[in-house]
């Protein structure tokens, strides 16, 4: 339970995160919905690991996101939820209905906190203090009695940790809009020694920017009243004051008296008034409550606080619903796919109409032909717009990371540089959405576990700055996204011993690749301590699951002491590609434009034959192998007058070959379709695409062709 939550450094950002707020809010909303659903369906008597892991992952994702964006109140609450869920999924605790209750309430609270952030931080925030307390109670193994709603707090003068206090006082949420100077009247006491309160004045002197404080004369004996002008929130003030006086002895009133006190303060006030002159009267009989103490702190009775919280939550919720009608809509990818397919059909129909109308007399059918020309243009535009819905460059994903890494590195005290490559690689939107979370986990992992502290790096003879490289590229029929770091790498021994501890069957004979795969097991972590960054072992599990769901694969390459590389390979479903179409005989093939170096007309005497019959062509002092597509693809020849006399030089894996084709037909963007979904892998072919006339053309796997020629 020794986890504390650190606030991410929010100020001084050199990078605007707000463009991603909307995405985060939507994602968080979905995660909350999902969590709620799973909590409601949870069978307490026989909760299986899968369900608990699922709920845990939801909380984890929300926490990660809100920490990244600096919504510390949400991150803090979900962090607590996560702690409880973590103990549940490790079977250290038995799930009980109270846990579900408190988790559901926390989900509601998170929702309204998020709604408040979404609305720009206006309005009253829900206090999460009591929720946090209840969660940590439950996580500590305490089962609150159903009929004992009143929990006596430890006396303020002796903050001996009751189980409640075992959890470090979490930073409560800000309860009013920061940044606005407010006039407050703060009453402290009654105290045994009113001099204690004077220390608070020193606080204002010592902490720059906190505000101004002055004594208000005429306060009752044993109490002090101050007039304060500050921009800080009530909760922040209470936290500060807690160094000198117990929170419960502080009463913050708005000087204007409009009762803008947070729910916590209301609760305090309620106790104050109902207690009257003898605030401890309620609890005279409570065991362990010290008598004779001049002041008796009373925690707000647990059941009251959440009520107050929900009351406050009601209003931001209404605001949230209004906000949810935003400028973007989230559409099922299937619907977009359907749209794309329908447009494809339309294009074919249009092409057919154009073909059939060619013989018509332009004079007699002028209007019809004009209409067809319009149809042609509109179909083209429509197709382009529909395609553009799905395709976005990887830079959208990558640009999330500089800020995240910067904050993370600051928090961990590390020095990290981020290098991104291949940002222009276009990726299907569906893939981008699904790849973002796994990538975030990978980058966090690299920073937290991979990169060493600057001193350690220097000791190992490395540069002080660690480097994390993110790269994206099209390779053959896939998109490969790599996260590389030059940190400490994976330790084979550590992973094997950790796996043995967890009861996974391992042996010394396992290959490195097999050992690396172990880190994908749920809950597996080699981190020595759990931080809010990583170490709970949820990351790699999620990464693998998300990527497997995309029919992709994750490979790990690592050398201890030198770093590690995680390659995520995704199939090119619907990825768009710049292609060059070439004709061979009657057939059309597509070459990825990125691999085409040059093309030229070839003379017979440029080509020389080597002993085994393979051909070489000399291009500017370089001999390269010739591959005749006609032979490789057994293209039938009907027109013997035509022959292949054009060479297209392609490059892959660093080597070049010349492809012999009949003609160059043009360049265009093609939507890559997977051949394997209904057929199987075809040698030298990475996929297929649909041409403008509706026929299918195969896309060549230049990597495969080059390998074939070089062997």
């Amino acid at each position: 339970m020794a986890e504390t939550y650190q606030e991410g450094s929010g100020a001084g950002a050199d990078f605007d995160l707000s463009q991603f707020y909307q995405i985060f809010f939507e994602e968080a909303g979905e995660n909350l919905d999902q969590m709620e659903q799973m909590l409601l369906n949870l069978d307490l008597s026989s909760a299986n690991d899968e369900e608990l892991n699922g709920i845990f992952r939801c909380a984890h994702s929300i926490k990660g996101g809100s920490a990244t964006f600096g919504f510390s109140d949400v991150a803090e609450l979900t962090h607590q939820m996560e702690s409880l869920l973590d103990r549940l999924r490790r079977h250290e605790l038995q799930p009980i209905p109270q846990m579900v209750d408190v988790l559901l309430e926390s989900a509601d609270a998170s929702r309204s906190l998020l709604a408040r952030h979404q609305a720009g931080g206006q309005g009253e925030a829900v206090s999460t203090t009591s929720l946090v307390r209840r969660i940590s109670d439950l996580a500590a193994g305490l089962v609150p009695g159903d009929t004992a709603p009143v929990v006596a707090a430890p006396p303020p003068s002796a903050p001996a940790p009751a189980p409640v206090a075992a959890a470090p006082a979490p930073k409560p949420s800000s309860s009013s809009a920061p940044g606005q100077a407010r006039q407050l009247e703060i009453q402290i006491g009654p105290l045994d020694r009113p001099e204690q309160a004077d220390a608070i004045k020193e606080l204002f002197r010592d902490i720059p920017g906190l505000g101004a404080i002055r004594d208000v004369p005429g306060s009752p004996p044993n109490t002090r009243v101050f007039a304060v002008e500050t921009t800080s929130t009530n909760d922040d003030l209470l936290d500060l004051f807690a160094f000198h006086v117990a929170k419960e002895q502080v009463l913050i009133r708005d000087a204007a008296g409009d009762g803008s006190a947070g729910p916590d303060d209301e609760a305090t006030a309620a106790v104050d008034t109902s207690g009257g002159e003898a605030p401890y009267g309620f609890f005279n009989g409570a065991p362990g409550a010290p008598h004779g103490e001049a002041t008796q702190a009373v925690h707000a009775p647990a059941p009251q606080a959440p009520k107050a919280a929900t009351r406050v939550a009601a209003e931001p919720k209404a605001a949230m619903q209004a906000q949810m009608e935003s400028t973007t809509i989230r559409v099922d990818v299937k619907k977009v796919d359907q749209l794309i397919n329908l447009v494809g059909e339309l294009v074919i129909t249009q092409a057919m109409l154009a073909q059939n109308s060619r013989g018509l007399d332009a004079g007699a059918y002028q209007q019809l032909l004009a209409g067809l020309a319009d149809l042609d243009r509109n179909t083209r535009d429509l197709q382009e717009s529909v395609m553009s819905i799905r395709m976005i460059p990887m830079s959208i994903v990558f640009s999330r990371f500089p800020r995240m890494l910067r904050d993370l590195a600051n928090k961990l005290g590390k020095k990290v540089e981020l290098v991104t490559l291949g940002e222009a690689t276009e990726l299907d939107k569906g893939l981008v959405e699904k790849i973002t979370d796994p990538l975030t986990h990978l980058v966090r992992n690299s920073c937290d576990h991979g990169i060493e502290m600057p001193a350690d790096r220097l000791a190992k003879g490395k540069s002080e700055h660690g480097t994390i490289t993110l790269s994206a590229s099209h390779q053959g029929g896939s998109i490969v996204i790599e996260v590389r770091d030059d940190g400490r790498g994976l330790s084979r021994e550590k992973i094997l011993s950790k796996a043995q501890e967890r009861g996974i069957e391992v042996s010394e004979q396992m290959s490195d690749a097999e050992v690396w795969q172990l880190i994908f097991a749920p809950g597996f972590s080699t981190a020595d301590e759990v931080t809010d960054v990583s170490g709970r072992g949820v990351g790699m599990d999620v990464v693998k699951r998300n990527i497997a769901a995309l029919n992709g694969s994750v490979e790990i390459d690592s050398a201890e002491g030198y770093g590690m590389k995680v390659s995520v390979r995704l199939p090119l479903t619907l990825a768009i590609m710049d292609g060059m179409s070439v004709g061979v005989g009657e057939e059309v093939y597509i070459l990825p434009l990125s691999s085409v170096v040059e093309s030229f007309q070839v003379n017979a005497d440029d080509v020389s034959t080597v002993a085994q019959g393979s051909q070489l062509v000399k291009v500017r002092d370089e001999y390269m192998p010739v591959i005749a597509l006609e032979k490789i693809f057994q293209v039938p020849r009907f027109d013997l007058n035509k022959s292949s006399n054009i060479m297209v030089v392609v490059e892959a894996d660093g080597s070049r070959v010349a492809l012999l084709v009949d003609e160059l037909l043009g360049q265009h963007q093609v939507v890559v379709k997977n051949l394997e979904s209904n057929y199987r892998k075809v040698p030298n072919v990475s996929g297929a695409t649909i041409l403008g006339d509706g026929t299918v053309a195969l896309i060549l796997d230049t990597g495969g062709l080059v390998r074939r020629a070089r062997h």
Binding site: I632, L675, Y679, R680, K681, T695, A697
Partner: protein, 162 residues
């Protein structure tokens, strides 16, 4: 290009509906629930180094669908492609495959009693892919387990280790 409605499997007798088609002089039946649609033949894009009965792939509303000519697979004497050639699009465990046949006849309901087990005969396909022989009047239907047939390795539609 008609779409066959999916038949409700409600008959208490356990009768099932079969789509029947002709290959040369033989008549075959396949489970109607496996049929997605029936369309005319359009020239597919040839795939190099594929078996000769795999004619290639076509674009079916954005999906790349392989086309298998059953007449070549079943060693029929003739395999002409004209405006009457028919392709049956099958949906087998989320894989879409088209098969070329000479003609589609009709949809028939067969009760289990009217299906005889097939004798051991030598044919171009594995005997286990033949569910039985259905007799309707004077006609004999060869009932195919089309899913098993299409996923067998020698059809070349899937790689051996799949």
């Amino acid at each position: 290009m008609s779409v066959i409605g999916k038949a409700a499997d409600a008959a208490p007798t356990g009768a099932r509906e079969y789509l029947t088609f002709r290959l040369d002089q033989e008549e075959y039946g396949i489970d109607i629930l496996k049929v997605q649609e029936i369309r005319g033949y359009e020239p597919p894009t040839r795939i190099a180094n594929a078996p000769d009965f795999i004619k290639g792939v076509v674009n079916l509303r954005g999906t790349i669908v392989p086309i298998v000519d059953m007449r070549i697979k079943f060693n029929c004497a003739q395999a002409d492609y004209n405006s009457f050639t028919v392709v049956i699009i099958l949906n087998l465990r989320n894989r879409v495959v088209g098969i070329v046949v000479d003609s589609v006849s009709d949809v028939m309901e067969l009760t289990p009693e009217s299906i005889r087990s097939a004798p051991d005969i030598e044919s171009a396909i594995d005997n286990s892919c033949i569910l039985g022989l259905g007799s309707v009047g004077e006609r004999m239907l060869i009932l195919l387990d089309i899913e098993k047939l299409m996923s067998s390795v020698d059809m070349g539609l899937v790689t051996a280790n799949e």
